[in-house]
């Protein structure tokens, strides 16, 4: 699997939100403004890469040698949650600007299924560490892309006179579905 295939495949073809339907919660929750969605995207790139690295190492260095692979899900959730909290504390101490930029979004990602999903998929697909890291970054970029595009549409829709029963969540869900329908066009772009 070449890096090019992994990158195009995870950003466009199997977009984590629009094709695999993971991370829908922040996708709907943090997409009312483009600027916040960019911040959220940056936080996801950061956390997803870090979490995949750590869980990959735990899987290969701890779970597999001890033959406790069945603990995978539980351990990963715990590791990701505590990792994010730890990163938040460290950031607060050493880099106030970065903390300010990512601050609100970091706790939101703690229980994001997209982060856990990528960590698990990397193991399931038997990727090498380098592949796994590229896969994680590409998926996070794919998430950011979907989020920013969706936020752009929602910003425009906020100015539009939507019929009353459709305002808010209904129109957001319908738009998300239509966006996913549009992204079907990328199917098969890489093998």
């Amino acid at each position: 699997m070449s890096y090019f295939n992994i990158i195009i495949g995870s950003i466009f073809v199997n977009n984590i939100v629009l094709a695999m339907f993971l991370g829908i919660c922040p996708f709907l929750g943090v997409s009312s403004k483009v600027s916040t969605s960019v911040g959220m995207g940056a936080a996801v790139v950061f956390v997803m890469t870090l979490a995949t690295l750590v869980t990959y190492l735990i899987q290969t260095l701890v779970l597999l040698p001890l033959q406790i692979g069945f603990m995978q899900t539980v351990v990963f959730i715990l590791v990701i949650a505590s990792l994010v909290q730890m990163v938040e504390i460290i950031l607060k101490k050493i880099s106030q600007p970065l903390y300010q930029a990512l601050g609100i979004f970091l706790p939101l990602i703690t229980t994001n299924c997209a982060v856990l999903g990528v960590a698990l998929l990397v193991i399931k697909k038997n990727m090498s560490l380098a592949d796994a890291m590229v896969y994680a970054v590409a998926n996070a970029i794919g998430f950011t892309l979907a989020l920013v595009v969706f936020a752009g549409i929602r910003e425009k829709l906020a100015l539009v006179d939507i019929p009353k029963p459709m305002r808010g969540a209904p129109i957001a869900l319908i738009t998300a579905g239509l966006l996913s329908l549009a992204f079907m066009g990328f199917a098969g772009l890489v093998k």
Partner: protein, 340 residues
């Protein structure tokens, strides 16, 4: 309309109304309609009429009974959606599927957002994407244009008079590992540029004849309904990307002229990418939108799972329009412009 405050005179009053623009587009679609009637017979006419009527009716019912607002279903925009949807399906499609697609296009693609001018995606293309996802076989079985001429060919998809479109044939062939040179030699009539130009090939109802679409496009340019930027840059983007790959290896990729004339590129570039609601507002934005759409269309055609990427490329670019409009803004009146 009572929400608007009428300011002091003088008022500029333009002759261009929504109705005039929309019915102008409908007139521009008539050459393609005539060609489709010639190539696909009564069946093609029926599918087109059913889709158009279904779209207008859906809009009428929603406006009259659900939204209880002013009914603007007859301003021509629903008719355009219906016509374009029908032009994007094979003539052998079951009638009920067309109706379903039309209802989806208008209800989900347009009316849930409040109607004309508010939808982020082109409704006709959404209808087509919905139908392609729901009825993939019916949507990709094309009757041969000439054999069904003037026949009510209900069972075109069963009695063996079907034929792959040039793009579908190309995609299947390349998938099998065949070289383009051999494919052209095996079926020269599909790759004949003149056949593609006048529309003597398999395909969706309204997309086959590039000539008829160009006639409509020139009419719209003459009426100043559209500007030349989007069609020219869309087709330019498509020609560029397919041309690059063709120049690299003509045995593996078809030539750019073939890509311009085959499939829905012409219809998409002239009638769907230019949709005023779902294209960027500034000329710079439109150029960016159109070039990216053309590139995407070529990439999907050459490497994607679908033989035809035109409709998806426009849908995907529709999604980017709010961002394009956000970051490429028109120069404010009174601001100094750098002409250097």
């Amino acid at each position: 309309m009572s929400n608007y405050i009428v300011s002091l005179s003088p008022h500029a009053k333009g002759p261009l109304t929504t109705e005039k623009v929309m019915w102008g587009v409908v007139i521009a679609l008539m050459p393609s309609f005539a060609f489709s009637a010639y190539y696909f017979g009564i069946r093609g006419i029926v599918v087109t009429l059913v889709a158009t009527i279904a779209c207008i009716l859906t809009e009428f019912v929603i406006q009259k009974y659900l939204m209880k607002t002013t009914v603007t279903a007859f301003d021509g925009s629903a008719a355009i959606t219906g016509l374009l949807l029908a032009f994007n399906v094979p003539s052998s499609i079951p009638i009920w599927e067309v109706i379903l697609g039309a209802v989806f296009a208008i209800a989900i693609g347009k009316m849930v957002f409040g109607g004309l001018g508010r939808n982020p995606f082109n409704p006709a293309l959404l209808g087509r994407a919905f139908m392609l996802a729901s009825f993939p076989v019916d949507m990709t079985t094309w009757p041969k244009p000439v054999t069904t001429q003037w026949l009510w060919n209900m069972g075109a998809s069963v009695d063996g008079t079907t034929a792959a479109t040039p793009l579908g044939y190309l995609k299947e062939g390349v998938k099998m590992g065949e070289s383009v040179t051999n494919l052209v030699a095996a079926s020269p009539e599909r790759f004949d540029h003149f056949n593609l130009f006048i529309g003597n090939v398999g395909g969706c109802i309204g997309e086959v004849s590039a000539f008829a679409i160009l006639l409509g496009g020139i009419y719209m340019l003459y009426r100043k309904i559209i500007t030349w930027h989007i069609p020219v840059f869309y087709l330019g983007g498509l020609a560029l990307i397919t041309g690059i790959f063709w120049a690299m290896d003509p045995t593996k990729y078809a030539d750019p002229l073939f890509h311009l004339l085959a499939g829905g590129a012409m219809l998409g570039a002239w009638f769907m990418a230019t949709d005023m609601v779902t294209s960027p507002m500034t000329v710079k934005g439109q150029i960016l939108f159109a070039v990216c759409g053309g590139l995407l269309c070529g990439l999907i055609r050459m490497f994607g799972a679908f033989p035809e990427g035109c409709s998806y490329s426009i849908l995907i670019m529709n999604a980017f329009v709010p961002l394009i409009d956000k970051y490429i803004k028109p120069t404010r009146f009174g601001k100094e412009v750098n002409y250097g």
